[in-house]
Amino acid sequence: MNKTILIVEDQEDNRRIMRDLLTSGGFAVREAVNGIDGVKAAAEHRPDLILMDVQLPGIDGYEATRRIKAMPEMQQTPIIIVTSYALSGDDQKAYAAGGDDYVAKPFSPRRLLEKVRGYLA
């Protein structure tokens, strides 16, 4: 059975790039377009890994990560935070919110796939 990855991303093109990338890599993909939906989808589908954008309408990616990590059944699920600004401090914020890893935009799809495979091997 294919591993399921939840993509929380409001921007359609980014969503599609990740979807195409991950599908081609053999993963099942679930999508959410904002923080609230992301938290709901995580609770409902219990994905094996979550790619979480930071800048989201409503609650941001850090807050969504905190809420998901607060669920007992999701504590072991890796969350990779995708930051918009490649600036200092973002990595700390990502880890502080409970994220397991982070990728800065613009990310290389190739590298992202490697990272995801690393977690789900």
Partner: protein, 683 residues
Amino acid sequence: MRHPDRSNPDKKMASISRRFSYGLIGVATLLLTTFAAVAIFLNIQRSERELMSRLDNAIRLAQTSLPTPIWNLDRKIIRDFVEALFLEDAVVYTRITTGREIMAFKVRGQSLVANLTADAVLPAGIEAEFLIKSAPIRFEGNPIGEIQIVLSRKSLREKTRRQIYGIIALAFLLIAAIWITSIIITRRYIALPLLMLQQSASRIAYGDLDTFVDLSGGGEIGSLAQNLDAMRGSIKRLFEALRQSKAELEDHSRMLEQNVADRTRELAQTVEELHALVEVSRTVSSTLDIETVLARIVRHAVQLSKTDAGTLYEVDLAEQVFTPRINYGLSDAYIEVLRRAGPRPGDESAVSRALMKREPFQIPDLSKSTTYPLNHVKAAGYRALLAVPLMRDKRLIGGLVVRRKKPGVFESPVIELLQAFAAQSVIAIDNARLFREIEAKGRELARANRHKSEFLANMSHELRTPLNAILGYTELILDEIYGAVPDKIGEILERLEHNGRHLLNLINDVLDLSKIEAGQLELALDDYAMADVVHSVVTAVEGLAAEKNLPLTVTMPASLSPGRGDSQRIAQVLMNLLGNAVKFTDSGHIDVNVEESGGQFTVAVSDTGCGLAAADREHIFNEFHQVDGSSTREKGGTGLGLAIAKRIVEMHGGQIGVDSIAGEGSTFRFSVPVRVAEQGGPG
């Protein structure tokens, strides 16, 4: 100090006369004793001679008177003769013998010979006490008898003793008389005048120069007294001269003291004024709260001009109003009166006149002014007014008025003082206005700058989002996720990706810089190892260097202190320098040198590239500056890298610089503290 002789003048006097008397008595005693001794000796000799002659006379008398009676054996006459002899006190023994027969014999009692019998022989050894003489009595040349007479020396000795006593008594009497006389004489003629002289000298010594020295004495003492009196006169004249000089000196000194006191007072006043002015100007330059400054100015103006109240008016010539801006020494009610019915431009009030004349104007006595319009000022008890105009660049901006309840002219120092305060007020008002303007400008600028930075940050984000999509899709296509890609298209896609990345770098740099400028960039301080930072950066550029066939060497101490700072940002700086080195070097080599000293890491990147001209070295760290436009395009730089690197290094509290010779190469060097202190955030 007391004069030693003054303590007991009698003693002194006694000592003089006594010494004199002792001398005199000594001499007199010696003389008298000698005289007495000689007299006594002579007297004794004379008595002896007298006694002897008396004895001789008695013998001769007997030799003359007795031959006949003896011849006649007239015993009665002989006895009478013996009795007659005994009338003489000194006769103690008489014996008249004729052959064997004793004709007459008599001894006087109470003597050594008294117990002798008539026929006894005179004992031997009595000659010391008695004078003994025997003589024959002759009748017609034939001895018929003998007479022996003994005279006692006793009575003679008594007499002599009495005489000696008399002489001694006389000598004593004489000595006493001489003594007393000498004492009287020395006292009267030597000691007393000397004592008086001494007392005069003492008086002079103790400063009594007015009592004349007694000149009654004559002789040496008299001339001594004259000299002393002359000396007293000289000293007195000297003293008077001295006293006069002293008095003059004291007068001078008093005058001087008065002058000093006056000057001191003036100086104190001046100092106080200066102090106030300094305080005011310090307040003017340090306090931008215009109300505080002006209140202080008005207060000092009133206090230092010794007036009772003051007001600083603002004038609006267009509106024809004076506004009492700052008041001192006035009640709120009176300030309200001033506000409603105060002076107006063009009227006869002091402030109005001062502004019209553009110079200080005073009314020394309001009660004598018929034209003064403000009755409430008079009613409040003010009698004298002084007003000075406040002018900025010959433009009237207000007036400063002080009011005094005591009438009188304001002297020029007070007027000058008030003018100084007026000038300070103008500066204060100007400063406040300038500050308000600058503050407004500053706020405007800050706002504009923030807008700019925010705009840039937002724009770069907005630009990046679609760019991310373009790059993402390009990579996915190139990775043939959407199917096989013909070589030709693949080649174009790679160029598309390359340009896209350049654009992205530009946008990232702009974003970084704008965040730094907007103060939004904060250093994420953490512990790091400089060796790791250097290795990671070198690893990242090694490929590029190898492609251009440029050897890249790293020189670094085996151990470096653990660093604290924003390692990602430090890596960004090094990446920039190393990237540039590779970019601008076509042949030769690139060296990275890391050192640690004095609590600083220094990282130098040397290349053998085109180098920099001196003019470029100054601007190389400015935004969007590159050696020339063409190289920017060729080398794909953004022109922001060094500007960002400089800011990052400075945020760490470090420095960045470059040494370069055009055509030979460059060495970029930056240093950062090994341990960056917390809150080393952006300035």
